[in-house]
């Protein structure tokens, strides 16, 4: 590689390792939540039909509300992730990058 960056030094930096750990925990955690919530829908529709059929808002039943909530939850996860990434991850990453490669803006 012709790149002038010292990648090993970046990766060895304690700040980098802290950011990497934090991002991994955060991302995989959110991923797991979203998968569990999503697959609860087909599982519920198949095995908890009596619950899904319960009418709670006029003719609207639990199943319909649950399907609608999937949209809200997906949007909330996206919103939450981008908030944390914009606020924390980008700033922490920029600090590390600035120390190692002042010429490359990131």
């Amino acid at each position: 590689m012709s790149s002038a960056m010292d990648w090993t030094a970046i990766v060895a930096d304690p700040r980098f390792q802290a950011l990497q750990r934090r991002k991994a925990r955060f991302l995989w955690g959110l991923m797991a939540i979203s998968l569990l919530y999503y697959f609860a829908l087909p599982v519920g529709a198949a095995y908890y039909q009596n619950l899904f059929k319960m009418q709670v808002w006029g003719v609207i039943n639990v199943g319909l509300l649950f399907a609608l909530s999937e949209f809200v939850v997906a949007w909330l996860i996206a919103f939450y992730y981008s908030r944390v990434a914009n606020r924390d991850f980008d700033r922490l990453a920029a600090e590390i990058v600035a120390d190692f490669a002042p010429q490359e803006g990131g």
Binding site: M1, S2, S3, M5, W7, T8, I10, V11, F16, L19, Q20, K23, L27, L30, M31, S34, L35, Y38, F39, L41, P42, V43, A45, A46, Y47, Q49, F52, K53, Q55, W57, G58, V59, I60, N61, G63, L64, A67, L68, E70, F71, A74, W75, I77, A78, F79, Y81, S82, A85, N86, D90, A93, I96, V97, A101, E104, G106
Partner: protein
């Protein structure tokens, strides 16, 4: 590029006569006296996209311009373009149609298409932006053996794109034929030539703008219809739903779907059943398998991944997914009203009468809500929705062709054959254009050849291959230190082969013996049913008489279908694969092939080591975590 403009003139001149058949043969849904309107709206949409292509063509000078619009697309623009790339005719018309026919299950089906973007947002979009340049194989080639990674990556991209492309071309041909009554072959060629024009002359710049325009038009059309449908209820969801449940057309649709068990149910119970699961999706394992293919497959779709190379930074990639999720999710929420509204106002039986798959629910609802088949506004709405559907097919096909062409030109020609060493910019662009023409011609040929084939399962197969081959390879090369060339090659091959193989022995194919048995069963019971109808007529009983016409029509239809089916399988004993019956009952292979794809990457990576992959890990992880991107095209 000076010689481009005369050529572009030829393209424009060649495309315009394609509009004539729209006006000449329009007969199906649009009444004859309103053909001019359909013609005008189509012409407006096509001319607008062609003008943009003309502007874009001036900007395409380098390979980077052609593949990624020079990285000059903003996050917001890219969000709209992703939505335009992703919302195919299948989701635009198909899901509204499913809801109009099967109620709840159709809506439930739409959820996975949005949730898929969580995977893209959290795990894929930003690191791909940082590590790739033009193609999916760029990401794989970064730390693995470049030649091997490019060959398997490109082959997989071409496989996925071809499956998806075939489904789009055939579906699009049928759709345009039904909407405006032109011949299937003409509509396939029209879609193909327009798409080819956009991609060939305007590259990613034009493709992006065609996708943005299409997404904006799609949202406007849907919003307009939703407003008109929902306003009478004061925007109350329970009031709207109460009308659906209380509709006799909906109730008789549920009775038809349920068969005998419906006889003991009251009308209110039948209506309510429309809002409950189980009318369409019967086997939970199939749904979960399809769900897995969607939520992981989208993140491995080459035409979606490619969109992240058109923005400059990881932040812009992030922003574009969030926008895309807002647009795509908002659109699927609107299909709730389109689908249920069509069931209530048009009626499931009428919709299925025009197109058995229910695809015409949205267009028919638009016509109804505008004032009906004999009104100016009704036909304007129909023409508008039809034009948007046409633009949808063209935009999605353009994205797919660009992805397949980039795999051929950038990965196979420039990367593998020419070893990526000092390939002049002109040659790169020329290779991209040649590949585009090749893929485009292939798409048209396949579209014409596959006339009349049932291609619905090809979309699911495309997602299954993307989820089983592309996704494990991309994910693990980005996040797992030990991942290497051996794992990538094995994962691509095993993921693709198991996904395709399992589909080939699944119930998705036609099994002549089973078809024949089912047809004979219908024909054998027909005489008993005929006798029952005759008895009803003879009885002069008002209650029994009421259903005579409907039952006769239904019976005649069933008998005709059974006879058609028998004719289709005449002289055949086994499926395309030489099987008498499916080996597995699973309709979507995802639940088996996705874990196998992951397992292959992991085991083969652990089995043999690869020094380069490990040496490059620090760089990959540093770029992945910090968002530093590859700025120079240095790696082959």
């Amino acid at each position: 590029m000076k010689n481009l403009h005369p050529l572009f003139g030829w393209f424009a001149a060649a495309s315009l006569p394609l509009l004539v058949p729209f006006a000449a043969h329009a007969e199906d849904v649009t009444p004859a006296n309103y053909r001019w309107l359909t013609f005008a709206v189509f012409a407006a949409v096509i001319l607008m996209t062609m003008y943009i292509t003309y502007l874009a063509a001036k900007k395409v000078r380098s390979a980077a311009d052609f593949y990624t619009a020079g990285g000059g697309i903003s996050g917001l623009q890219n969000g709209w373009a992703i939505a335009g790339d992703y919302l195919s005719a299948a989701s635009f018309l198909g899901i509204a149609g499913l809801i109009s026919q099967y109620g709840y299950d159709g809506f439930m089906y739409s959820v996975g298409w949005l949730v898929a973007y969580i995977t893209v947002l959290l795990l894929i979009a930003e690191p791909c932006r940082n590590i790739g340049k033009y193609t999916l194989a760029d990401i794989l080639a970064y730390r693995n053996d470049p030649t091997k990674a490019r060959v398997v990556g490109a082959l997989s991209v071409i496989t996925v794109s071809t499956f998806y492309l075939t489904a789009q071309m055939v579906g699009g041909g049928v759709l345009v034929k039904t909407l405006i009554g032109i011949d299937y072959e003409v509509s396939v060629v029209a879609v193909g030539i327009l798409m080819l024009g956009y991609v060939l002359f305007g590259g990613m710049v034009a493709t992006t703008w065609v996708q943005i325009i299409k997404a904006v038009l799609l949202v406007i059309a849907s919003l307009l219809i939703v407003m008109l449908v929902w306003t009478p209820y004061g925007f109350s969801l329970p009031a709207f739903m109460a009308d659906i449940v209380g509709d006799p057309k909906v109730q008789s649709q549920v009775a038809k779907l349920l068969g005998d068990p419906a006889k003991t149910m009251t009308a209110a119970e039948l209506g309510q059943r429309f809002l409950e699961p189980g009318l369409y999706l019967k086997a939970p394992i199939d749904q979960i398998s399809l769900g897995l293919a969607l939520v992981f497959g989208t993140a491995g779709m080459p035409h979606i991944l490619m969109r992240f190379f058109t923005v400059r930074t990881a932040q812009a990639a992030r922003k574009s997914v969030v926008w895309a999720m807002a647009i795509i999710g908002g659109f699927y929420l609107m299909t709730l009203f389109l689908g249920f509204g069509a069931a209530h106002l048009v009626g499931p039986a009428v919709i299925a009468g025009v197109d058995p798959g229910g695809n015409m629910a949205g267009p028919l609802l638009a016509q109804f809500i505008g004032g009906g088949p004999q009104s100016l506004w009704g036909n304007f709405m129909l023409a508008f929705v039809s034009a948007v559907a046409f633009a949808t097919i063209v935009a999605v096909v353009a994205g797919l062709v660009l992805a397949a062409a980039s795999a051929m030109a950038h990965d196979l020609w420039v990367g593998v054959v020419r070893r990526g060493e000092n390939v002049p910019a002109q040659e790169q662009v020329a290779a991209a254009r040649v590949a585009t023409v090749f893929v485009g011609a292939m798409a048209i040929a396949i579209g014409v050849a596959a006339k009349g084939q049932n291609v619905a399962s090809l979309v699911a197969l495309a997602f299954a291959v993307a989820a089983s081959a592309n996704f494990p390879c991309v994910l693990l090369t980005l996040y797992w230190k030990r991942c290497n060339t051996h794992g990538i090659v094995a994962g691509m091959v095993i993921g693709t082969v198991t996904a395709v193989g399992l589909t080939l022995v699944s119930p998705n194919l036609t099994y002549p013996k089973l078809v024949r048995a089912a047809a004979h069963k219908v024909l054998d019971s027909a005489s008993a049913k005929r006798a029952a109808i005759e008895a009803a007529i003879a009885s002069h009983d008002a209650v029994l008489m009421a259903n005579v016409t409907r039952d006769t029509v239904a019976l005649d239809k069933a008998v005709k279908k059974a006879n058609d089916d028998l004719k289709k399988v005449e002289g055949k004993e086994t499926s395309f694969m030489g099987l008498e019956k499916p080996v597995i009952e699973l309709k979507n292979p995802g639940i088996i092939s996705i874990p196998l794809g992951f397992l292959a990457v992991i085991l083969f990576s652990l089995w043999r080591r690869d020094k380069r992959a490990e040496a490059m890990w620090d760089e990959v992880v540093a770029r992945q975590v910090t968002g530093m991107r590859v700025s120079k095209p240095a790696h082959y």
